[in-house]
């Protein structure tokens, strides 16, 4: 083996020295950039230069607190570093005055502090104890928001490429056994045991084998894989290399959606740097093992995340699923044995090899080991990325990490698993999150998107939203999915428009059942889940729409009626002016009325009435 050992110690020294310098670090993940991170970066560089300050300016990826972007971290030698949230260019001066020049943290702008062994500052939550992070673990996300993702030195100094170093000295089957021991299951949604998959590909006969990384991430609202790719691209590469060595492949392909330009840029850079250091390419670390990786940008169809459609797409064909068997492990890319895993699955591998399978298996539940990254979105206080041990309950995620529902409203449901998943109600908040519990509740782990909904959400409308998505994304190959999801959607539309009939619920159930059992691929087989779970947990809402022509949550416009409460209206006439179609009438100082035949249900009048006299129901 060549001398990564030697350069590693030099790189570690340099990294330590870097941590011992005054530094300002800006979060430049896609979320940080979208919040204006690049402008903040420019403002900081400007201030530092014009004041001639001796301070390093660097950037990192998303630490997970998307709700606090743009985020800026400031650290001084020997002190805890502080992550500030909501730092727009106009706050930069104040921060630099206070923390860099004045050497005192600006407490009122601080989100958390990372002590790194130093004395914590007063009045700023320490990361590990802060509301957002207390129940989290930082394993596969440990570098996110902490290192510069475009620096291979940062990666190596934090244990990077120690996994492949260790792996190439192991027997191939021992590597696979270590992965089996970890108990890790595929993080792309299906939850297939990764070690077993590797074993199949290892055992498959073929003159050529491939590693393929699924970075398609097409669920609406999901960004776990994007965050990992942007924040720790080398970990994904290293995981793929370890897999390549273990199963006997010398070539890997990352299928990444073209909508992730930053991820693609950082992956390309990472590949280049790894090649330069002899960590990728021919004869890696002098062991005779060769491995190269290329990136294929996908056109962004949801179905191309399905593994066989993805392989077709890499081969330049239409992204339509193939029948399985044969599974990709036997006949995958170009009909060769192929090990296809998700981004997060691969990113976990270096940690598992470095720390051992048992270390990983110590986290989680009996059948779902380790940790999982989730994206928290919807009507919650803290939207963002979190990593939690398997087995944590949905309620803990909602109340502790997500900070509960916004504006003090009541929780109603959480959609787990994106369009393939299901809506779980309050009764399921104590459900431990693992593959099997979620499936038995009618939902899915999926890739890790959690959408929280509050009491103002109409569940029929939610089912309609997801069915509209799957219906458009169906590849069109098989009848139940192509035609069936369209009919499910049309029925839901009718119900929300007040044209539902008594047969609609049994029809929905029958169609859903047939689509689930007879569709070709998992897109169709899971597409009815949002309908089935909302019917299971919120059936009364369907019945209210169909029988009473009412939308209990007050969302479905066609079913709303607006009226003015006699005892509250003082006849001020403000609403009358707000109505765009003159549906409101009434004399000054007399009770006003809304003509339901004229009212277009725009709701413009409601907020105008200071006496809360106008109600929608």
């Amino acid at each position: 083996m060549t001398n990564l050992q030697k350069s590693r110690s030099t790189i570690e020294e340099q990294y330590k020295a870097k941590q011992n310098r005054p530094r300002i670090v800006v979060g430049l993940g896609t979320c940080g950039i979208a919040a204006g991170g690049n402008k903040v970066m420019a403002a900081i560089k400007n201030e530092v230069a014009s004041r001639g300050l001796d301070v390093d300016v660097d950037f990192t990826s998303c630490i997970g607190m998307c709700f606090a972007e743009p985020a800026v971290e400031i650290g001084l030698p020997g002190q805890a570093s502080v992550v500030y949230g909501g730092i727009y260019p106009d706050k930069v001066g104040q921060l630099i005055d206070g923390h860099v020049v004045g050497k005192k943290p600006v407490t009122e702008l601080a989100a958390i502090q990372i002590t790194g062994g130093a004395e914590p500052f007063e009045g700023i939550p320490v990361m590990e104890q802060s509301g957002y992070y207390a129940k989290q673990v930082r394993s596969v996300t440990s570098r996110l928001g902490r290192t510069n993702p475009e620096s291979i030195e940062d990666y190596i100094a934090t244990g990077g490429y120690a996994g492949i170093e260790k792996a190439v000295a192991m027997e191939r089957l021992d590597i696979i056994n270590e992965v089996k021991k970890s108990g890790i299951r595929g993080r792309g949604g299906g939850g297939f045991p990764t070690g077993n998959k590797w074993q199949f590909v290892h055992d498959a006969v073929g003159d050529k084998k491939y590693i393929v990384c699924n970075a398609d991430e097409g669920d609406p609202g999901a960004f776990m894989d994007r965050s990992v790719l942007e924040g720790d691209p080398h970990a994904v590469l290293e995981g793929m290399m370890i897999a390549g060595f273990a199963i006997g492949a010398d070539e890997g392909v990352i299928y990444c959606r073209a909508e992730y330009p930053l991820a693609i840029k950082r992956l390309n850079l990472a590949i280049e740097e790894a090649e330069k250091m002899g960590l990728m390419g021919e004869n890696i670390l002098g062991t005779g093992f060769s491995f190269k990786i290329r990136i294929k940008a996908g056109a962004g169809a949801f179905v191309c995340g399905e593994e066989t459609a993805l392989l077709n797409s890499i081969e330049g064909q239409r992204g339509m699923p193939r029948v399985r068997p044969p599974f990709p492990a036997h006949k995958g890319l170009w009909q060769k044995p192929t090990c296809l895993n998700n981004v997060e699955t691969f990113a976990n591998i270096p940690f598992i090899i470095r720390n051992g399978g048992e270390w990983y298996a110590a986290m989680g539940t009996e059948k779902s080991k380790g940790s999982k990254v989730f994206c928290l979105t919807g009507k919650i206080n803290n939207t963002g990325l979190c990593e939690v041990p398997m087995g944590i309950t949905m309620g803990e995620i909602l109340n502790d990490i997500a900070g509960g529902i916004k504006e003090g409203k009541k929780f109603k449901a959480v959609q787990s698993g994106g369009p393939s998943g299901g809506c779980l109600p309050t009764e399921k908040l104590d459900l431990p999150i693992d593959y099997d519990s979620l499936i038995s509740a009618g939902a899915m782990m999926g890739s890790g998107g959690l959408v929280f909904m509050d009491e103002t959400t109409c569940m029929v409308d939610v089912a309609k939203f997801f069915l509209n998505f799957t219906q458009l994304e169906s590849c069109g190959k098989c009848t139940p999915c192509r035609e069936g999801t369209k009919r499910l959607l049309e029925t839901l539309i009718r119900i929300t428009e007040g044209a539902g009939t008594a047969e609609d619920i049994p029809n929905l159930e029958r169609l859903a059942k047939v689509i689930k059992s007879s569709a070709l691929c998992a897109l169709g087989q899971t597409a009815p889940n949002p309908v089935l779970t909302t019917l299971r947990y919120f059936r009364n809402e369907y019945e209210a729409h169909i029988n009473d022509k009412k939308c209990p949550a007050g969302v479905c416009a066609a079913l709303l009626s607006f009226s003015i409460l006699k005892d509250k209206c003082i006849g001020c006439g403000v609403c009358l002016k707000a109505c765009p179609v003159d549906a409101i009438s009434g004399e000054k100082k007399a009770v006003h009325v809304i003509d339901p035949a004229k009212c277009v249900k725009c709701g413009a009048c409601v907020p105008k009435c200071k006496f809360e006299a106008i109600v929608k129901a």
Binding site: Q471, S474, C475, G476, T479, R482, E483, S517
Partner: protein
């Protein structure tokens, strides 16, 4: 040769290893409907009408792409299977003109036959139906994509011929349709009018223009003829009504041959007493040509003069 033994509808069946559940069941005398299954082009599994129940399986697999295995317990006519088949037929009919009374295919249409067999009268989900213009741009082939059930057989048979692959799926979801590149008309495409696609279409989506309005299927008789233009020997049907030949249709390509227009036109000239005038594409337009030109005999004729 190794064999496997499985149970189909309670009956023990032994078949060579690698046989599909579909073939095992058909061989044992059971009926399973298929739209997309093409024995010359297996492994697609798209239409799902052939689903069966297999004990222990999570879903209902398509029998045409499932290999029979030892100890497998298969039901081909259970209530769940029938419910799935009926629902799939309803879904097809809900997106179909259902104009059997004037359809050329009536009498040999799989959709019609299966609807009859499974007693699916109509299916009104009250929703959208596809509404595409008819494509009559090619003088030989009529395409009515409103009748297409998207089995993909035409796509797969066309792409069997190297450099052809004239048609493919376009768009996604409910809007999916079979179309030449850029959704052009067949005449604008690289189609060579071989009619392989027409010969495999299970419904009335692809039909012969020359047959339009001439006969109901049950009034016709068909005589299989082997083409003698080249040694490959593609098969054609000479179609007659009341003793009169009315058309020649493509049946199956010979080994390694694409099926060609010239072959069919030659058969037409030989067997049909009133053959329709041959048309060839010149500078992108179909124009009427002489029979000698259509059959590529101009140079020989010149020499014979």
């Amino acid at each position: 040769m190794s064999t496997v033994t499985l149970t189909i509808n309670g009956k023990e069946v032994t078949v060579p290893a690698g046989t599909t559940v579909l073939d095992a069941a058909l061989g044992a005398g059971f009926f399973i409907p298929t739209f997309c299954h093409d024995p010359a082009n297996p492994g697609y599994g798209g239409c799902r009408i052939c689903v069966v129940e297999i004990k222990g399986a999570r879903n209902m697999p398509a029998s045409c792409v499932t290999a029979a295995a030892n100890g497998m317990v298969v039901e081909t006519d259970s209530p769940a299977v029938i419910e799935a088949r009926r629902t799939i037929l309803e879904l097809m009919l809900a997106n179909h003109p259902v104009d059997c009374m004037t359809c050329e295919k009536s009498g040999e249409c799989k959709l019609q036959d299966y609807a009859f067999r499974y007693d699916v009268k109509s299916a009104d989900f009250g929703g959208e139906k596809k509404d595409y213009p008819q494509d009559q741009s090619n003088p030989y082939i009529s395409r009515d994509m409103n009748k297409c059930v998207l089995c993909g057989k035409c796509v797969r048979t066309c792409e069997q011929v190297e450099d052809r692959a004239v048609i493919n799926f376009a768009y996604r979801g409910f809007k999916t349709k079979v179309a030449p590149a850029l959704d052009a008309s067949l005449a604008e495409s690289a189609c060579v009018s071989c009619s392989r696609c027409v010969s495999v279409c299970p419904v009335g989506a692809l039909t012969y223009t020359s047959m339009a309005g001439k006969a109901r299927v049950w009034e016709t008789t068909r005589e299989e003829k082997t083409c003698s233009w080249c040694e490959a020997g593609c098969l054609f049907d000479v179609v007659s009504k009341g003793g009169e030949v009315i058309s020649v249709t493509a049946k199956a390509p010979g080994d390694g041959r694409p099926l060609c227009l010239k072959g069919r036109l030659g058969m037409e000239l030989r067997h049909n007493s009133q053959p329709p005038a041959p048309m060839l594409k010149k500078d992108g337009e179909f124009v009427e040509v002489s029979w000698t030109e259509a059959l590529g005999l101009d140079d020989i004729m010149d020499k014979l003069k």
